[in-house]
Subunit: 388 residues, 2 copies
């Protein structure tokens, strides 16, 4: 089986882009990735693209061919929608196609425009990732859903708001020198604790922001990389996907995310790696509690042990296994359909040594990304490794 | 490489289902397919699912895990959105996964609810498959877009409304004994000609209806079929996908659909078959003119020759290569996200001999399906063959 190499990566600035269209944002990320790879556009055989709420934000579906054209491509282009894991599932299919010889060169990524909607509209639009019949009509939106998960966690395992505040402060600290991050500034634990309540125990600074942005990666087979003398030291060696019941009420447990556990187990088996071998990870911290649930589902911590990881300094820059050195969704921003691709971009740069935070993990050789949809009714996990 | 077998198929009645949810419709099709296959649900490793406008029709995205749960599945479930080719691209990825050993048993299909919206809302919702900036804001909806294509065809190659009326009459005639069809009734060429104008030269009976419905197929590797003694005489031996510029104004030609040509060329090469070998086909006749463009893109006719095929009796039941024996989108109905899967279901039944119209093509061994998105900015073609 062919090894799948990351030949090039691209991001737009994450934040507000009121004067730009979605296709324009994706074209920028795609062009950057293609230039980084040094791959001519006619060599790209397929685009696998994630977008979540384009039907509501831009009255635009069928975005595959639309953004392919904007990026100067004439290849087949497919859109995937999996809530916040849209680009994650797009990347997964692209990876499988390359390693199985279906294609030698593919472009993957995603895009979301969100800030052109009013805040109330964004909250309503995001709610289409939950169960309309059994959650949304009962009044659930995502801050409320994750608050329920946090309450359940505190109730079963213990923990307190200050534990979560340490996660927010850590991720903001990591974002300070990430030029693509929406919030390149510190917040203190005290500021997080004092921020306005949204849905207890979650306050404003426990939540990721509303973001416009795009991400793109060029993936190639190792044969193509060798033949074209492309420097692509990072390979994607494992992929996994898991699913769960959609509505929280149908789950066995509110404080565990078995979809992510299944995705991780598959990705570990696929790559032949174990949780202990992962040097660094980007996880889906749409809310601070989500980072805790991710750490435990990925096998980094036993259930109930992840809550104190940031506070104890184990997942900070100085810790044994830094988490979300990009700033995470919390501080880098969360353009929903782009996030799964963005995590792969950040991890590639961290591992190949050209990320502003690469020096923090100078010896890192194995990284992991964890991308979740909704209240983790979907999860996609990838393992990346330095291979030469 | 493993041969990909169709182990089981399922459809709901196509038509109006005002009292049912989308998840309920898909669950019915999935259960039927699973029972037809005789595959236990725990053996299904992944769901690849197409849906187009759920965000607007049911305020529901993230439908992968939602419909998987409704169908009694706990496997990873991915949603694809490619306008009217949503289930086509879903099936394509599923096929690649099975033949490459990524999975032995997968469920594919799609679902759309449309009739719960007002007619004007449906037209607006369907328009998200066109280019919002350069087509929709200028007033284009799909009847208008296909009318432009028909005008361009008539202008370049000749042809007249009566040629199109023969296509409508043919497809209605085929649907009469299809128990899943929305319109199980004849229309005459005269009725089609006399139907109210929508966008000249297209009249009401040149257009497919608004439809609720779902489709599902169980695909298995031939090793799995053999090991579990599953009767699966039909294999999917070729898959192809093509893309084009999104907006009609950017195309080189309004009366040709090169995305479908590319998809067909890839599917022919993949299966080792040629257009001449195809015994029977289901093509994407969202409007009568679309059937003509399909026949020419698939290599069944030279440009300008497809327009008279139905009128000459070459694509009718008695013709050399019957087209749309299901009734096509025109008479069977077009629940957008389900259609690509429905075409595969119909073709499987035609080839394995249990379709009401199987006797029309009793000797047929090779079939083709053609599924198009928007004004064919996307196209997916599959080749199916009787293999034992």
């Amino acid at each position: 089986m062919t090894s799948v190499r990351v030949a090039g990566v691209g991001l737009t600035q994450f934040g507000r882009h009121p004067d730009r269209t979605g296709r324009d944002l994706f074209a920028e990320a795609a062009l950057t990735a293609r230039e980084d790879a040094g791959v001519p556009r006619q060599d790209i055989e397929a685009l696998h693209y994630g977008n979540f709420m384009g039907a509501l934000a831009e009255h635009q579906a069928h975005q595959g061919p639309l953004v392919a054209e904007a990026a100067g491509l004439t290849c087949p282009a497919t859109r995937y929608e999996q809530a916040c894991a849209s680009a994650g599932v797009a990347a997964r299919q692209a990876i499988k196609d390359v390693r199985n010889g279906e294609a030698d060169v593919v472009l993957v990524g995603g895009m979301e425009r969100m800030t052109n909607l009013e805040t109330a509209e964004v909250t309503e639009s995001l709610a289409i990732a939950a169960d309309e019949l059994y959650e949304v009509r009962a009044g659930i939106t995502f801050p409320g859903a994750y608050a329920l998960m946090a309450q359940a966690y505190f109730s079963q395992f213990g923990g307190e708001r200050e534990d979560l505040a340490h996660i927010a402060a850590k991720n903001h600290h990591n974002a300070v020198n990430n030029e693509f991050a929406q919030y390149q500034r510190e917040i203190s634990v005290e500021q997080a604790l004092d921020s306005p309540p949204v849905a207890e125990p979650l306050h404003l600074f426990d939540a990721c922001p509303i973001t416009d942005g795009a991400s793109a990666l060029v993936l190639v087979s190792d044969e193509y990389a060798e033949e074209h003398d492309i420097d692509a030291p990072v390979a994607i060696t494992g992929t996994g996907q898991g699913g769960d019941k959609m509505a929280l009420q149908d789950r066995d447990h509110l404080a565990q995310t078995p979809a992510a556990t299944k995705a991780a187990e598959e990705a570990y088996a696929d790559s032949g790696r174990s949780p202990e071998e992962i040097d660094v990870a980007e996880v889906h911290d749409c809310f601070t509690i989500a980072e805790v649930l991710a750490l435990e589902s990925l096998g980094f911590y036993e259930p109930g042990e992840g809550i104190g990881a940031a506070r104890r300094g184990e997942t900070t820059r100085d810790g044994d296994r830094p988490i979300n050195l990009s700033g995470g969704l919390k501080a880098k921003g969360h353009p929903v359909g782009a996030t799964g691709g963005s995590q792969l971009v950040e991890m590639t740069r961290l591992l190949r040594g050209d990320h502003p935070n690469s020096d923090v993990v100078a010896d890192a050789e194995i990284g992991l990304t964890h991308n979740a949809g909704g209240t983790v009714a979907s999860a996609v996990v990838h393992v990346l490794e330095v291979v030469n």
